[in-house]
Amino acid sequence: MERDASNGVEHLIAVPDSSLNELYELRHWPSLQFSQEAGRLWIKGLTLDQLHAIEVKTLTGLKVYEVNDPFLHERGHILPDIPKPRLKWRALESLLPVERPEYNFNYFGVEEELSIRLQRSTAGAPGSAHVVLLDHLEAYLSEAAAIRLKPLIWSIMGSKALLMGTPLLPIPGDVYWHNGALFLPEGYDLELPILRDEIRKKIAPDGNKHVFIHTDGRYWLASASGFTALSRSSFKRSFVNT
C-alpha cells in the first residue's frame, strides 16, 4: 500500500459536466468515487500521485479542493472558498460504462467460420458435468453414500451417462466445467474467452441445449431436458428391459 503523503488531507476534484468524457482516462484507477451536483462532477479517492498526474491536470475546467469540514479550500488558498456540498458517492465505473461491441458476423465471408480453439488453463470453475461409463456408474452407485447422489442429475447417452451438478462423483470419466455459456474440458479454456456467448449463440441459439466442447474444438450437444435426479432406483429402472 502506498503511504498517504498528503498528511491526511482529503482532496476532491471537480469538473464541469461537459468534461465527462475526459474522465475515461481515469476509469482504470481503482477505488475512485464520483458524485454529481449542480452541473459539476466531483471525484474523490485520488492519491497524491494521481492528483499530480497528467491525466488529471489536463482535465478541462478542473478545480482541486482540500477538505476542511465544513468547508472546501481551493488548493493553495488559506481561506475557505465554498461550503462542502452534500454529496452521494458512487463508484466511478458506474458513471462510465464500457460497452463491448457486438460481434460482427458479417465481417467474415459466408464460407468462413468462427473457429473454436481451446488452450490449457488453470482458470475455470469446479467441474459440473461428467461423462462416465455406465458400468462404472453402476458399480459406484451400488455402494455410494446417499449424500453423494443428492446434488446430481443424469441422463443416458448410449453406453455412457452424463452427470451434472457439483460436487461430481469420484469415478473416472471426462469432466467439464461451465464458463457461463459452454461446457469446456477441465483444465482448458477458450483461447478467446470473450467469444463464449457468440459461440453459444451460433451453435445453439435456443436455450434448451447444453453445448460441450472437445479439446480439439469439436462440439456436441445434450438436450437440457431429459435429465432426472440420480438415484439407485432411477438407474435400475432405466435398464429393466435391457
Binding site: 451400488s142 455402494e143 455410494a144 453414500a145 446417499a146 449424500i147 453423494r148 457439483t166 460436487p167 469420484p170 438415484s231 439407485r232 432406483s233 435400475k236 429402472r237
Partner: protein
C-alpha cells in the same frame, strides 16, 4: 393400485398405514379398533410391496423383508394414533397396548420396522406438545432406544447404542450413516462406530455436503 384401494375401504388398519406411508399423514381414530388376522396380513403384504419398492434405492444388497417386525411396528404406530384422541386404558395398561417386540433385531427387522417407526419421532413430538407428561411418551421412548435407526433425527443420548450386529450388513450400515448425514446428527457422527464411516461417506467434499460438521 386399484386392488389396494378396494381393500383399503374395509380395512381401517391398512387404510391408516397406507396413508401414513404414501402421504406422511396420520389418520386418527376415536376408539380402539380390533384387527383381524386377515387385515393384518393385508398390511404385511402392503408393507412388503412398499419395502421392495424402497429397497431399489438401498445400497449394497438389501436384507430380506421381515414381516413380523414390520407388522409389530405398524401395530405400534396404529395404536399410538388411536391413543391420541381417546383412551379408556389406565396408565398402567399402556405398556400392554404398546408391547415390546419379541424377536431379534436383525438388519432385516430394523429396516422392515423402519417403514412405520420412522414416523414415531414426529408422532412423539405432537404427543409431547399436547401433554409432555403423557405415559405413552416413556413407552415409545423405551422402544426407540432399541430401534434407534428410526430415531436418528432426534437421537441425543448415544451412550450404550448397540449397532455392531447391524453394521455387519453393509446395506444397513450405509443407510445408518446416510441418515446421520441427512439429519446432520453431529453427536452420532462423532460416535466411535460411525465417525470413520461418516467421514469416508463425505469424502473430500465434506465442506460442501455438511459445512458445520465438527469431528472430535
Amino acid at each position: 393400485m386399484t386392488n389396494q384401494t378396494l381393500l383399503i375401504d374395509d380395512n381401517a388398519f391398512l387404510h391408516m398405514v397406507y396413508y401414513l406411508l404414501e402421504t406422511g399423514n396420520v389418520i386418527l381414530h376415536q376408539k380402539m379398533l380390533d384387527v383381524t388376522e386377515g387385515e393384518s396380513q393385508q398390511v404385511v403384504d402392503y408393507l412388503q410391496e412398499f419395502y421392495e419398492r424402497e429397497a431399489q434405492d438401498y445400497p449394497h444388497s438389501s436384507p430380506k423383508f421381515d414381516g413380523k417386525a414390520a407388522l409389530w411396528a405398524a401395530t405400534m404406530v396404529y395404536r399410538t394414533s388411536q391413543l391420541y384422541l381417546f383412551r379408556d386404558q389406565k396408565h398402567e395398561d399402556i405398556p400392554t397396548v404398546l408391547p415390546e417386540y419379541e424377536g431379534e433385531l436383525t438388519p432385516g427387522a430394523v429396516l422392515s420396522a423402519d417403514l412405520c417407526l420412522r414416523f414415531v419421532p414426529s408422532m412423539m413430538m405432537h404427543l409431547k406438545a399436547m401433554n409432555s407428561e403423557d405415559p405413552i411418551l416413556g413407552v415409545l421412548e423405551n422402544h426407540m432406544k432399541s430401534w434407534h435407526y428410526s430415531n436418528i433425527p432426534r437421537l441425543n443420548d448415544i451412550d450404550g447404542l448397540e449397532m455392531k450386529t447391524w453394521f455387519l450388513s453393509d446395506c444397513l450400515k450405509q443407510l445408518y450413516i446416510d441418515r446421520i448425514i441427512e439429519h446432520k446428527n453431529e453427536r452420532l457422527a462423532n460416535h466411535s462406530a460411525c465417525k470413520a464411516l461418516v467421514l469416508s461417506s463425505l469424502g473430500i467434499h465434506q465442506k460442501s455436503y455438511w459445512p458445520t460438521l465438527m469431528i472430535n
